[in-house]
């Protein structure tokens, strides 16, 4: 067996792993990076944007307060503080690594409005406006994350990056983690190290782990079609099977708050092409799905102030709590015309459309493909029957909702009146959403320096975690949000590496002192 010695072993070549590797190497450490797939990046190939707290002390303080109060201090305050402090520096660190992004943020929030507004895009709840959001430079029809990873891996720092080399075992002696055994192309390799950073990605491709740890007792259907409202994974989760998480547990690490970042989605067929590109859509159903009109559950009742309809995480959480995990957007011909002439009320940058085109035609196509979740009918009764909703219950809800529209006041859930559009004129349209997830959350509990901790919160010497496996530490329980993953990946990798460098420096100083004696 090949046997080598190094200072730091990093597992995973996503944003977290590469940020840890580069930071450690820049600090003078010898680094080996192991990636089980034959190419780098993992789930970090998927993201579009980078959200950071502005690099300004007042912004950092305010962001910290907003974040901690919204998690009701269930997040780890030391980790959140380190993350918040580190994110702004990324704007200066990343260009030095050859990573490009928009010169100006596409969304930014002035200090006085932080914590008062809707956040950006899917996955940021009301009041979570603390980030400046930059668009990562992308190529072709792809997302910027993959270009970012390509730049980070190309960095010449003497880092030994080994692709196609999964970790098989953590080496541990007297509680201290001191390396790994991995399976390389030419057989097994034993790597002795002073620290191991597990930046190995989540568990979205492990059916049993997702079923057990999704936080909602939801059945998991790895087949994306999810016809019966089953949970399915949306983002780039292939081969994220969670074995390194389980190795950390065996080494004594605690689980932390594991969950999935829920979102709402219309199941196939006819919505998305096959393959692993969640940002590509076959039609404008995804753009329609964002809209804040009437939403009902399988009891025919409203279940949310629908102005949340483009907040994917909130909608996913709400739909997970409804009968059969379904939530259905309903609108009529007048609203269809409004979408076709004025354009959508909510614009999502991934499915950016000026106006919707031929809504009837789009529904006809998906219905011809047999998609039971897209329904167009001449009567509300028929619509209810096709959706398995009691027609009387739906009719009562629609009557009450229409009265709210006529009065210009939502007396039930206080929705912004500008989104109150009655449901009266045939044809009637329904988009039934079930729940999916952007990916998994957490797996390994850490302290503020990303050192893995046991159930009693004592750190496990030599073992660190970064990126998705550690992100539960900033989300809190239940998780506050399902986004900001790129910023946490990069920042957590850097924080872990800096903690390791401090430890290596003090061990080095101790050794010198001992030698001098």
């Amino acid at each position: 067996m090949e046997s080598i010695r190094t200072d730091v072993v990093v597992v995973g070549t996503g944003g977290a792993g590469m940020a840890a590797a580069i930071t450690a190497a820049e600090g003078g450490a010898k680094v080996v990076v192991l990636e089980k797939r034959p190419f780098p990046g993992g789930a970090s190939n998927t993201p579009v944007v980078l959200g950071v707290v502005r690099n300004d002390p007042e912004y950092r303080d305010r962001a910290f307060q907003v974040h901690m109060n919204m998690t009701r201090w269930t997040a780890n305050p030391h980790l959140v503080r380190n993350w918040v402090n580190m994110t702004g520096e990324l704007i200066e660190w990343l260009p030095r690594q050859g990573v490009e992004f928009s010169a100006q943020p596409v969304v930014s929030t002035p200090l006085e409005r932080m914590g008062t507004e809707r956040g950006f895009g899917g996955g940021f709840p009301n009041g979570y406006s603390i980030l400046d959001v930059y668009l990562l430079k992308a190529e072709g029809q792809g997302h910027g994350g993959s270009v970012m990873i390509k730049a980070l891996v190309a960095k010449e720092l003497g880092i030994d990056v080994r692709l196609g080399t999964p970790v098989k075992q953590l080496l541990q002696n007297d509680g201290v983690v001191h390396g790994v055994i991995a399976e390389g192309k030419d057989g097994q390799v034993r790597i002795e190290s002073k620290a191991v950073v597990l930046a190995c990605g989540g568990f979205g491709d492990n059916r049993e782990m997702v079923s057990r740890y999704n936080g909602f007792d939801l059945p998991y259907d790895p087949d994306r079609t999810a016809r019966e409202g089953r949970l399915f994974m949306l983002c780039n989760h292939l081969k994220l099977t969670g074995e390194c998480i389980q190795m950390a547990w065996e080494a004594g690490a605690d689980r932390g708050g594991m969950s999935v970042s829920l979102m709402n989605n219309i199941p196939d067929p006819g919505i998305r092409p096959p393959g692993n590109t969640p940002w590509v859509s076959l039609n404008q159903m995804r753009a329609m799905q964002e809209q804040p009109y009437l939403w009902v559950n399988q009891h025919g009742e409203r279940f949310i102030d629908e102005s949340n309809s483009n907040d994917h995480f909130t909608m996913g959480q709400a739909i997970a709590r409804q009968k059969d995990h379904f939530g259905t957007l309903i609108f009529d011909a007048d609203t269809a015309r409004h979408l076709e002439t004025d354009g959508p009320d909510y614009q999502y940058f991934v499915w950016n459309v000026k106006v919707l085109e031929d809504i009837e035609g789009q529904f006809r196509k998906t219905m011809e493909l047999g998609n039971p979740h897209t329904v167009m009918t001449d009567s509300l009764d028929e619509l209810a029957k096709r959706l398995d909703i009691d027609p009387k219950a739906l009719s009562r809800t629609v009557d009450e909702y229409n009265r709210c529209c006529d009065r210009g006041k939502d007396s039930l859930f206080c929705k912004d009146p500008k989104f109150l559009r009655p449901v009266r004129k045939p044809k009637f349209f329904a988009l039934r959403n079930c729940i999916g997830a952007y990916g998994s959350i957490g797996g390994i509990k850490t302290n503020g320096n990303l050192q893995a901790v046991a159930r009693n919160l004592d750190p496990i010497p030599g073992l660190y975690a970064a990126g998705d496996v550690a992100i539960a530490g900033i989300y809190g329980e239940p998780p506050l949000l399902g986004s900001a993953v790129v910023s946490f990946a990069l920042a957590s990798g850097r924080i872990a590496a800096q903690a390791i460098l401090r430890r290596l420096a003090s061990e080095h100083a101790d050794a010198e002192l001992a030698a001098a004696r």
């Binding site: 190419f39 072709g140 393959g275």
Partner: protein, 63 residues
């Protein structure tokens, strides 16, 4: 015209969506395969579209 897929391919399968006649995802071996030795007549435009769409610009068309 031949198609080459570079080693930084991220297996996102965009090329499979754009040109299923030319590319396929082999999940068991975790690799994107080019299905043809030579791009058949009439599919050159699709091959170009796949190369342009590639998220990491790893598809090369060799004439």
């Amino acid at each position: 015209m031949k198609i080459e897929v570079g080693e930084n391919c991220i297996r996102c399968s965009l090329c499979v969506e754009v040109a299923p006649e030319l590319f396929e995802m082999d999940e068991a071996n975790d690799v994107i395969r080019v299905k043809v030795d030579e791009v058949p007549p009439g599919l050159e435009e699709k091959a170009r579209l796949a190369a342009e769409s590639c998220a990491v610009q790893e598809i090369k068309l060799v004439s």
